[in-house]
Amino acid sequence: MKYLFYPGCSMQRSAKPYLDSLKLVEKTLGLESVDVEDWNCCGATEFSSVNRTASHAIVGRNLALAQEQASGTDELVAACSACYLNLSKTDHFMREDADFNALVNDALSAGGLEYEPGSVKVRHSLDIIVNNVGYDAVKEKVTKPLSGLRVGAYYGCMIVRPDVNERFSNPEEPYELEDLLEVLGAEVVDFKMKTQCCSGHMTQISSEVAYDMIKQIVKPAVEEEIDVLVTLCPMCQLNIDAFQNEMNKHFGTNYEVPILYFSQLMGLAFGYTEKELGIGKEFVNVSPALAKIGKTTEEVPTPKKKKKSKSDPSLPMPKMPIHYRGGS
């Protein structure tokens, strides 16, 4: 499968390991991705705080470039949640609102560009991997299963919300990432904070508010004995990783929850080395967690569904769909 790829600013620098590992994963899965030529910043969450029209116009430029450069594909893929959302939202609003479409195209015309809404399909890398490549094809490439590693899928916000194109199963309880991690052989924990905010830009605005939110993610992860959180967003990775220590200082705690990109875990399962995948640059040391891979931990007997004894007074639980991993 061939598609255009929008890397975004974060993946050039602080989230470089995300890009590097993703490129390796794409290679293994036979995905042919071509970077959009001369793309500009998507504006993150900041440009739309300053000027609405301009914030969408700059995204419009990226869409217009993608439309121009598309050959043999109409899929535009991003891996950063904010980039993905900004691209989808601008396209969506332009489709939905004719006046807004005219507005953005008016701005674009100043640069000699034009974008026809809907002409590129904005997708996230995870969406491509689970829905186009498919779990079975991924499974075939797994050479080093992640058995023994307790992982928590951490989606954050913007990949599943507002999900204008309805690509994911649920805005609050999606299951695609968990299913993927299971295919990689990891032990997937029902991480209840999986779509909770990492604090976004609050680290830059009010550290107290930010630390509180980060704690809300990290504490339950520790309580669930999660070895590593798995993310698909540079911002989530940054906030949970780089600010964990500060957060600990603030609250007098000593939590230690490493966080990696999903592509890094895929890469490990596909047999790439930690170095190739950019692992080791984290603030929270991930080595102890990764050392568990392949080691069958002391046989924690998976709580077998024991038959309800006659004297057990408890009431049955509601039946849940197959993807559901929670419950007690």
Binding site: N170, D190, L315, P316, M320, Y324, G326
Partner: protein, 673 residues
């Protein structure tokens, strides 16, 4: 009537333009329209034209009558409101004066003109065109005689909830036969699952079961439970219905209802139907003790004999040999004159709102689970406890509007949940003394004695928080929250974001149309609203009828409502049926479509278009036929037939073309047809 209804000679048309107070006259220059018609349309046959303040008044109707007699009118055009409202009135006036009522035509210059514009000049012009169209058309009208159909006095009622029960008893008590078809093993519907009913708090079983046994014993009621309607043919007065009576593996004639089979059955399964997943039942069971009828049903999916070929414990112990493993479904054909659909509702699936944690957190319950929990005949014998089956909750949160009034789910108010939530608050207060929080958006207690009930619950100390619950979690943020369910909401009145730790949460899930309501509606030739509730003929003035004659609706099948309203509708639908039965025969509008067999090419294009299922294809003749009684004269097929083989009485090509011509008439040069 003795006098000839066919006008002799040239058309002599009277035109009446109604003011409708200021409804029409405020926008349309009615006098001008009347004068213009008299002048410009006289060549077509208008002999007089008048305007009048209220044509529908008795004075207005008498005017038509006397004009017909005095001026020898043989056609009448009334330019007034929509024919939906007063066509009958004016046709009646014509008939009283000895004219065939179908020589009367209306032009809707209120709904289609004065109510939709403020432009007086254009409104007046459009009114003139519409009058011209009607005048042009009425010339081609023919005398029609109403179609008469005899009414079979037997009635079919589908759904044995409280609404269906009420309707069945009302009809049966007048001496007429009823078939009551219920899908489940017992009648009773949702009401049978409750412990107490608001606002009076009487015991649900105590008021329901006497009605149920009355149904079971009634000589005029043929009760068919564990049964479903498979097919419906025919039309008002004469429906042919095929019913499948599913095999119970129990011979009803021999069963005494002793229950020994149930007792001896070794298989216990979770009861997902009546017990909503928190109760259990055996593989052979009656859903509850007072079930009517009380013959058990054998659940083949869970029965060891059907799975492994051994067991037959029930058979061994049955004293009357009433167990029959080989019993087959039975097909029953009945002919009925009228049908009442009282199929009730389903409940919103709380798993669609993962932020409320139903299914994830054991102590989040749905309202129906709670009804079972506090029911003396429920899984805990009425004891209000957590999912562990033993611990009494010390604090309970009751969440209103779950899945209702929510564009992401059901875009309507479920009407009963406020009262049901208040009822729960009272029951929890009375039986556990727990601290109670009710989370609501608005409290809607509009019916008799409902707000008084709210006052009572306030007085009992229930804490009301005005805010739609955002989420329910068990992830604590502080010590007080450890081990609790935390309900997070904005207390909109205090202006605070609050997290309230509780032991138990009850979700007041909304009411939804039955999952199969679309198929059922199609089967009976009626329609559903976009939400899926059955559509009434008129939401205010005819709430228990449908657009299909002879098919009536009652209870929650038409939309969420409480028991008093469901019962009222059951009675109302019964009254409509009884009046049809008493009439003996029904006069149907003769405005109908029919197929000219010789022209029909058998292309079947029209076959699926009829909204009333009136079209059938005659295979041996390879032509289409239209059932006169089912056809409502909508004209869809007439327009669709490529061969022009379908003609409509009351909307023939001539009539329609003449009307169009009239509508497009050039005002300056009146055309002579």
């Amino acid at each position: 009537m003795a006098n000839s209804k066919t006008p002799s000679g040239k058309p002599r048309i009277g035109v009446y333009v109604c003011h409708c107070g200021t409804n029409i006259a405020g926008v349309v220059d009615v006098e001008d329209v009347a004068n213009w018609s008299a002048e410009e349309l006289k060549d077509i046959g208008v002999v007089l034209s008048r305007d009048n303040k209220f044509m529908c008044s008795s004075q207005g109707q008498e005017l038509i009558e006397s004009d017909i007699k005095e001026f020898g009118l043989n056609r009448v055009v009334v330019a007034a409101c929509s024919p939906h409202l007063h066509e009958k009135t004016f046709r009646g006036a014509c008939e009283r004066a000895g004219m065939n009522p179908f020589f009367c035509e209306m032009a809707s210059i209120r709904e289609q003109v004065s109510w939709v514009t403020k432009d007086k000049k254009k409104a007046t012009e459009k009114s003139k065109s519409m009058v011209a169209g009607a005048v042009n058309r009425v010339v081609y009208h023919e005398a029609l005689e109403p179609i008469k159909v005899p009414i079979n006095p037997t009635t079919l009622i589908v759904g044995g909830g409280i609404a269906g029960i009420q309707a069945a008893l009302e009809i049966a008590n007048t001496g007429h036969e009823v078939y009551l078809v219920e899908r489940e093993p017992s009648i009773g519907g949702h009401m049978a699952q409750f412990d107490k009913t608001f606002p009076t708090l009487d015991c649900s079983a105590c008021i329901l079961t006497p009605r149920m046994s009355e149904v079971g014993m009634h000589p005029n009621i043929n009760l068919l439970t564990w049964s479903e309607v498979e097919n419906v043919d025919g039309f008002v007065g004469n429906f042919d219905v095929t019913i499948r009576k599913k095999s119970r593996c129990v011979i009803e004639e021999d069963c005494t209802g002793c229950g020994i089979c149930v007792q001896k059955c070794p298989i216990t399964v979770i009861d997902d139907e009546f017990g909503v997943g928190i109760g259990t039942r055996k593989a052979i069971y009656t859903p509850f003790d007072q079930a009517i009828p009380n013959y058990p049903v054998l659940d083949k999916e869970n029965c060891t004999y059907f799975i492994k070929g051994t067991c037959r414990a029930c058979e061994k112990f049955c004293a009357t040999n009433a167990i029959d493993f080989e019993q087959q479904d039975e097909i029953i054909n009945v002919t009925v004159g009228n049908i009442i659909l009282a199929t009730g509702y389903d409940l919103f699936d709380a798993r669609k709102m993962p932020n409320y944690g139903y299914g994830r957190y054991p102590n989040v319950f749905t309202s129906m689970e709670f009804e079972r929990l506090c029911n003396a005949a429920g899984p805990t014998n009425g004891e209000i406890v957590l999912r562990d089956g033993v611990t009494a909750p010390k604090s309970v949160a009751i969440v209103h509007c779950v899945g209702s009034r929510d564009k992401n789910h059901n875009n309507y108010c479920s009407a009963i949940c406020c009262m049901q939530s208040l009822k729960f608050a009272h029951i929890v207060y009375e039986r556990t003394g727990a601290e109670i929080h009710n989370f609501y958006i608005d409290i809607r207690t509009t019916a008799k004695n409902y707000d008084e009930f709210y006052q009572r619950v306030l007085d009992e100390g229930t804490l009301f928080v005005r805010g739609k619950v955002a989420e329910i979690t068990d992830v604590p943020q502080n010590e007080a929250e450890e081990g609790k369910l935390i309900v997070q909401a904005e207390d909109t009145l205090a202006g605070l974001q609050r997290r309230i730790p509780v032991d138990m949460v009850i979700l007041s899930v909304g009411l939804e149309p039955k999952g199969d309501s679309d198929e059922v509606a199609h089967q009976f030739g009626i329609s559903c609203s976009s939400n899926g509730w059955f559509t009434e003929k008129h939401p205010k003035l005819d709430p228990v009828s449908t657009m299909t004659e002879g098919i009536f609706i009652a209870g929650c099948a038409t939309g969420p409502k409480d028991i008093p309203a469901s019962v009222s509708q059951g009675s109302a639908a019964a009254a409509r049926v009884i009046s049809y039965i008493e009439m003996g025969e029904l006069e149907l509008e003769p405005v109908r479509a029919s197929v000219i067999e010789e022209i029909c090419s058998g292309c079947k294009i029209c076959n699926d278009l009829c909204p009333y299922n009136a079209i059938i294809f005659i295979e041996d003749k390879q032509v289409t036929e239209i059932n006169e009684a089912l056809c409502q004269g909508c004209g869809t097929c007439v327009a669709a037939c490529p061969a022009g083989a379908i003609v409509g009485t009351g909307f023939s090509n001539e009539q329609i073309l003449a009307q169009i011509e009239g509508l497009m008439m050039d005002f300056s040069v009146p055309e002579v047809v």
